[in-house]
Symmetry: C2
Subunit: 534 residues, 2 copies
């Protein structure tokens, strides 16, 4: 009985606690007991093993891979930011700042970036095709958007935008995407190699699910990396084999480092299955040089690795000296054909100049796998039936935007260039600001949407972080958030060379917010360093 009292008390303190004897003391109603078959709860053999019964689900019983998985971009610091925002809303003036400045996630439209008009016109018309024939529609939508909507609808069997599609996505839209890839690369693309997905993340999971059987299967990943990769590898129970990007050479990717890590993994009994390359880089912002890409392809070819190319930032290059080249283009230009190398390229509508994160559109182009393995990829895609059709349509639109001569072309180009040139300016301003801070160095954001500055923290700050049971960079980011409302993600969420500390900052806040970010950050940093200077 004493046990029950304790249980009761615990359940008052924590509503999730289930007393083991709780139900035994609750009288069963007639209607309840009627439907229990011969063995009632009081004499059921399973009640004897009560300890395994309540609570039915605990951290001890769930999949340990879920526990191991981490996802910093939406982690602790973001939870704190949301709490502060709620407090500000409930009690304006309660914080030393007026608004939260989210620099933690590549989510342009949440920070005020407007969608590209042409894309949204086509999506709206495809959502409600009944208005396509109406005269008022001519006044509301551009002529080429109306024409494009008809084209897209004609690519969809029965014009049914509300139907499940082929598991790889609507064939006609894949034709458009393949044509876009061909135009980009100058090499053929096959619509049957395209798998449309709800953003790039499910595509990455699908490949990890295919390639990873156990912790003996390794995936070479850049460090620092986008935490989708570490999370996905953890969820599927594989081993992340790290290779370090060289911060001193602008986050250079050295083949010697790949080889070293591969051999090291082999010596531990790990079979490396694939190499992840993020180009342009997240969180590093580097754009790989063509020669470097060739060496990477050659390495994968020689070592029999699948090359998983995260190319979602292909439209985000800000410096004239660098250009995006897809790994498929690189490998074909080296003379490697379909049968020579297993290559998966991930693309998303969430990034680029369009930044349509909420639409969850994307695709992977899968080449070099045998028909039997392709069939298995198709099966995994089938289990979720298909990706959302609006996202599929948008993925086809970003690969075939308005062309010279189309009614929307000028306004489309102006919107696109406006966004990209502004992003380039923001990247430069923030980079300069970081490099002006005591103890901070920051490589150029050649592409993507991030800066990943390194911060050399005083020993006193590192000790204070230890005392607060936080990683030093998390400690810094939390102090920054509490003082200024600015949200950076600690570098430890992306992994980094041990003993170094970083944070990731997006270049996405609107341009008129950047001066405030720079001045608040500069002021905070100065007082932080003054407080902790050794």
């Amino acid at each position: 009985m004493r046990r029950f009292v304790i249980g009761k008390a615990k359940s008052l303190l924590n509503p999730s606690y289930h007393s083991q004897n709780h139900t035994l003391l609750r009288p069963l109603s007639a209607s309840q007991s009627r439907f229990l078959s011969s063995t009632s709860v009081l004499d059921s053999p399973s009640t004897s093993s009560a300890s395994s019964m309540y609570p039915p689900v605990s951290l001890d019983t769930i999949n340990p891979k879920v526990l191991q998985c981490e996802y910093a971009v939406r982690g602790e610091i973001v939870t704190l930011a949301q709490r502060l925002q709620d407090e500000l809303k409930a009690k304006p003036g309660s914080q030393p700042f007026e608004e939260i400045l989210y620099c933690n996630i590549g989510n342009p439209q949440s920070l005020g970036q407007q969608p590209i008009t042409f894309f949204r016109e086509v999506l709206a018309l495809c959502d409600h095709p009944a208005i396509l024939d109406k005269s008022e529609t001519q006044g509301l939508f551009s002529a080429d958007a109306i024409e494009r909507a008809w084209q897209v609808l004609d690519q969809i069997p029965g014009r049914a935008t509300g139907a499940y599609s082929h598991s790889q996505g609507i064939k006609g839209l894949r034709d458009t995407i393949a044509a876009g890839i061909e135009a980009r690369d100058g090499f053929p693309a096959n619509p049957n190699d395209i798998f449309l997905t709800d953003g790039a993340s499910p595509a990455v999971h699908m490949m990890m699910q295919l390639l990873i059987s156990s912790e003996k299967d390794g995936i070479l990943c850049p460090i620092p990396q986008y935490p989708l990769y570490s999370a996905s590898i953890a969820l599927h129970g594989g081993s992340l084999v790290p290779y370090y990007l060289d911060e001193a050479t602008g986050w250079g990717l050295e083949i010697s480092e790949l080889k070293k890590q591969l051999e090291d993994a082999k010596s531990k009994g790990i079979t490396v299955r694939a190499l992840v390359v993020i180009n342009p880089g997240n969180p590093t912002g580097q754009v790989l040089a063509e020669d470097n890409q060739k060496a990477i392809v050659e390495f994968c070819k020689q070592e029999g690795l699948v090359l998983l190319a995260d190319e979602v930032y292909q439209e985000n290059v800000y410096v004239p000296e660098k250009k995006f080249h897809s790994f498929k283009k690189i490998s074909r230009s080296m003379g490697y054909g379909e049968e020579d190398i297993c290559l998966v390229s991930f693309q998303s509508v969430s990034k680029g100049y369009y930044g349509e994160c909420g639409k969850r559109g994307g695709y992977m182009e899968v080449t070099g796998f045998s028909p039997e393995v392709r069939e298995q990829i198709y099966k995994v895609a089938s289990v979720n039936l298909c990706s959302n059709i609006s996202g599929q349509i948008l993925a086809s639109l970003v690969m075939s935007p308005p062309k010279v001569g189309d009614e929307s072309y000028e306004s489309y180009s102006a919107e696109k260039e406006g966004i990209l040139s502004s992003l380039a300016r923001r990247a430069k301003t923030l980079e300069d600001a970081f490099n002006n801070l005591e103890g901070v160095t920051c490589n150029k954001a050649e592409g993507a949407m991030y800066l990943f500055p390194r911060i050399r923290l005083p020993q006193k700050a590192i000790k204070a972080a230890e005392a607060a049971k936080k990683a030093p960079d998390a400690f810094y980011c939390q102090r920054l958030l509490n003082a200024t409302g600015i949200v950076f993600v600690p570098g430890s969420g992306f992994r980094q060379v041990p003993g170094t500390w970083h944070f990731r900052c997006t270049i996405l806040p609107q341009e008129n917010k950047i001066p405030a970010i720079v001045s608040r950050l500069t002021e905070f940093h100065k007082s932080f360093m003054d407080e902790f200077r050794d």
Copy 2:
């Protein structure tokens, strides 16, 4: 050298075959060799272990769980149907039928069902809010759709439909859904318990990922079942613990059967974690009686099982004597609160009278888990960032459709009732047709979108199937497809009592197609039975 020749020959026969020495004979260009680090391909130690190198990915090296997974709804029979359709298109008249009649998948709009106008109006306006203020818009859209679009946009931070949302979905939309659940059940619902997902499938995967650590973790599943469950359990490496629905009593769910299977699993060292119930049933079409649901809740409570309630067909009930009750309503009406039972309810915009499969919207309502476990579910949701916003909006709309007095109410109701009453008529016509076939019996479709008739095949047909290396029901379905263009899914894809044979037929073909389906099926069946009669 001989080895190379064989390799070359093989590679001609099979483009996926990679000769082990292939690259060694390909001269490296200067630019290629320059970027290989010190150990070149010719002396690299890894070339010595060549046998593990090519092809890098094969059925022997991929995740065996992927190989084990099966998904009949999009399996072999559908591939055959697609091929026949292509042949018909390329060469009209090449088949003994003029069109493929897809009765294999719950995909209403692919078969001509029109979307609900109000829902699409709101979606289009949210996709392109720039037109909300324009005068032409008043002429094109109903007033309440315009008003609702404003309301929805006001629920979205920054009105940014192109932004990633909270990982559980937009809070304001979850408020609407929770209010809809409350109105449905008469018991409170908490918006923080709602996780918006890209259809119900990813939600099911998320729960399986959480609950399954190894093959020692069991999930009780009805047989016959929807193959999403068997596929998801296989992909996550768990054990499907079957419980058989009783066909003789209209696919009754007996608690004694649950107990028996649970004990049987325990005796094999399997810890059963959860019970899947599909209500209304897929593929069986049964609607559970309230008393039966109470007994199921009691069973889960006593045995400490998570109740995974697939309630995606909650709007699809066709018989006056049955009514849908959510398991949450049932458990609350029994006096079980949040802390008494772990309950997950899955809902989707793909089913109901709306049938918006392509939108990939849905949610799960998660109650009874401890805060620590809830945090883990949230983390898994976060790794994919969020579900698509159009799907999120639509999920809120189906839970709060137009009300009496709204401008759209009458047309909305007419569309809804038109679809549901037509589905009820189609279900009855097909049920009668099946019951008129020699050796076929078919339970009533009380709900959902399917009939699952049992077919007693002559021994001669079973022998012929064996000779063709097919399951007898797959043999029948393939013959049917080749003769008539009608696509059914063999019962073996859903599992069934060993030695019994079934197929699943949707009730979704448009009403004007039903007579042709019935007459072609009847004619085929007669000739099939004549051919194989013992």
